[in-house]
Symmetry: C4
Subunit: 255 residues, 4 copies
């Protein structure tokens, strides 16, 4: 059942050439923050969940005390005359092979709904605290898109370099399937949940899509995320130290 | 034969909607200790063994000098009018993918016997030596269970956070199959075999199940486990240092 | 689709018992540099691309801002009356299992085109800055080749030792399929892009093949590569530090 | 072709309930040394080679300059009225899952030839330089063997503890198939090629089998092995440092 990534559908919305927008945890939580804000503001509806053995081997306790496996989620909505699928989630895969497997599964779902255009969102770590208006760096998977998106204030990264994880792989593997897309990376420090970078990314994305999204709740959302993260960080530091020790003991335990 | 986890049945007991109780090595050995105590006190009978390529690649020398692969074990018993399957064992999986695979296999067995309700037992590391009466923290996989179990003195973890390994994954993946359950985590220091935490966990579990279990042997059992562990730790420290060196040499060895 | 390594053909050239020449990133970039120089100077044509889940999980931004998955590439050309397939690329596999899988796939392609002879190119790290004329060390996969190639100034490595990665595995696994070949390793410091070592390797290879290749652009090509590498190294140092931190946070993130 | 471990037979000897004797690289090279000595002294003949994607991803340069993948090898011989299969080789698997896979494949071959009895040989690291006559510690996979082998001077390890790698797994997994066997571990320092421990292991083994083996060449063989190892260690230290650096660069290389 869980040998490979698995998608559980709760609905099969009828969508007309939807675009796929991805935002998963990463640098400065820019992508995740942007995708979740979009889901909330556009009242997107969840229609599928993805579980994977390539995700970390823990479960997540939801508010209230309910346990569930970590997962990625597919939402859909319609705005500005455009159907959209939004991919958000708790985690990314834990191994290189896992990353390829999970991205491939996401593209299977995208293909099934007729997606031809991809937007992947993320942060671009500089290690410095960014300016008031963070720069948005982009990379595309089709030559024609360079001109199209340059107009919207995206600095196309022309000097080479790698993009790590889902934001890059979805574009790259999507290209092999004939999908076109852009990766929008907001300049960010990297270590803190960065609502200003997420806002800049959403600014460009909404201009491209010709839609409007109220940004006023974004800062509050970022602060809440940062607060939870801080708590988890402290807890995990302790747990990880124990985990390591536990790992050693488990391996050699004699009952 | 051993490409995937494999369950060897020595018997196929007829059970009526049994519950599954899991206790594997982890924080403070709380889960393992509790499950093994339960097996002994309720005279549970082993009916299956699980072997897996996701377990550590060593064998275990039993008392007397007999070698066997490390494994997990399924026991069954009946108490207070309830049929039970108890899962105990030497080890947990070594990789995230392995954890998913093994938990999935356990749930296959559970499903085969009609299990609808899960109880997973473990420790909750605090890094401090706990109070005389360790707190029991719980998380459930169905909303209705929150009220049910809160009555029995379980503090439902409402603030989020991850649960790592089998105790969490069994609940989470079980939820995807429609099984309901609770994870009972006893507060524990983390580094020592903790019979008081195991006793507290068993206290709550037996209250929930409406059964009685004599706890007098629990401390002795914990001390024995601690003594063996201490010996193994010392031995392993030496072995591991050699192992590392051996690994390097093996890799480059020219015969 | 991406469960395993996959080869995308853009053409199926008709080749007559072609030889396979491999040069991928490794010590001193000797192999990669040599193969890319050969491709440019012999006007070799690309006919296939290989993608693999065993490659690193990032994409590569080409000059101009286009994103593509990292890959290996097959080129073909004809020179000195000999048909040739040249394998070059961005990366090697990330795990031992991956290395076996990818090398095996390359040999499938080679077999499909009737390849019987392999030339794998690489560097041999000494940790010292090499002499004006780096020594070329070789190892073969058929006894008869020892005499054949010793004539061309190759020092056959007779004292044992391992060869790591594609340059070795292709020869070794090729031998199991009845292909014969030689690995040409140019002495190099190891840490810098070494055009002199690449030139020495190409010197031996072209003598063996009886072809001529203009070497004048090699130094420029090496310098360009070194410059790009230097930039990437600096960028990656920062990114990696963030990556690690990000990894921890991702794993435990609670949305 | 190389998705899984693969056995290449050069002959299919007719054997009558042969025993399997295993000696692969490990602590003090005791097992490997003992198995290779046995192969030489009993004039055993190679009949099969095993290759595996779970072995390290390098090839081995044989004396003379010939390259081959690292491998394990099956030999057969007949002595004292007993047919024997001897398993020796360059390496063990690199991952836990790989260890299970490779051991399982070895047992497939053993089963195919009707093996019912296993002898696995290895070292038992003490970190101290051993006495003139190293102790031989044993563990068995069937209760009846305890008495049988105790007579021959084997100290049955009765106090528990793990056995790591092929010497343990073959016994453990063999037990699940109904094969019986003993693991003979010679006390050894761990860090040096130990002919005295190998001699002690062979002393017990030959007493059990009722055969005679001339030990005079064992010390010379060990010294030769130690000399080669020393050379490889130095070479590898340098290579590994470069490898790590190379790994980083490869991953981020932009051509």
């Amino acid at each position: 059942m869980m040998k490979e990534s698995m998608v559980k559908f709760s609905a099969k919305p009828r969508l007309k050439k939807p675009i796929l927008i991805e935002g998963l945890p990463g640098m400065g939580y820019v992508g995740k923050l942007a995708a979740e804000h979009l889901i909330a503001e556009l009242h997107a509806e969840k229609f599928a969940e993805m579980y994977s053995p390539h995700f970390p081997h823990h479960v997540y306790i939801e508010k209230g005390g309910m346990v569930r496996p970590v997962r990625n989620e597919f939402y859909w909505t319609s705005s500005g005359g455009k159907d959209m699928i939004i991919l958000a989630g708790d985690v990314q895969a834990v191994s290189p092979e896992g990353h390829y497997g999970v991205s491939d599964k996401v593209l299977d779902v995208a293909e099934q709904f007729g997606v031809e255009q991809l937007f992947t969102l993320g942060g671009y770590a500089t290690g410095r605290h960014h300016r008031a208006k963070p720069r948005i760096v982009g990379a595309v998977s089709h030559r024609r898109l360079i001109d199209v998106y340059s107009k919207h204030g995206v600095v196309i990264e022309a000097g080479g370099g790698p993009i790590i994880g889902a934001a890059g792989l979805l574009l790259g593997l999507g290209r092999l399937r004939g999908m076109r897309g852009i990766c929008l990376l907001g300049e960010t420090h990297g270590m803190v949940v960065d609502h200003r970078s997420a806002q800049a990314v959403l600014g460009v994305l909404t201009r491209i899509l010709g839609i409007e999204v109220n940004m006023s709740a974004l800062e509050r959302r970022a602060k809440e995320t940062e607060r939870i993260l801080e708590r988890v960080r402290k807890e995990m530091e302790l747990r990880e130290r124990r985990e390591r020790r536990r790992g050693e003991e488990e391996a050699w335990y004699i009952g």
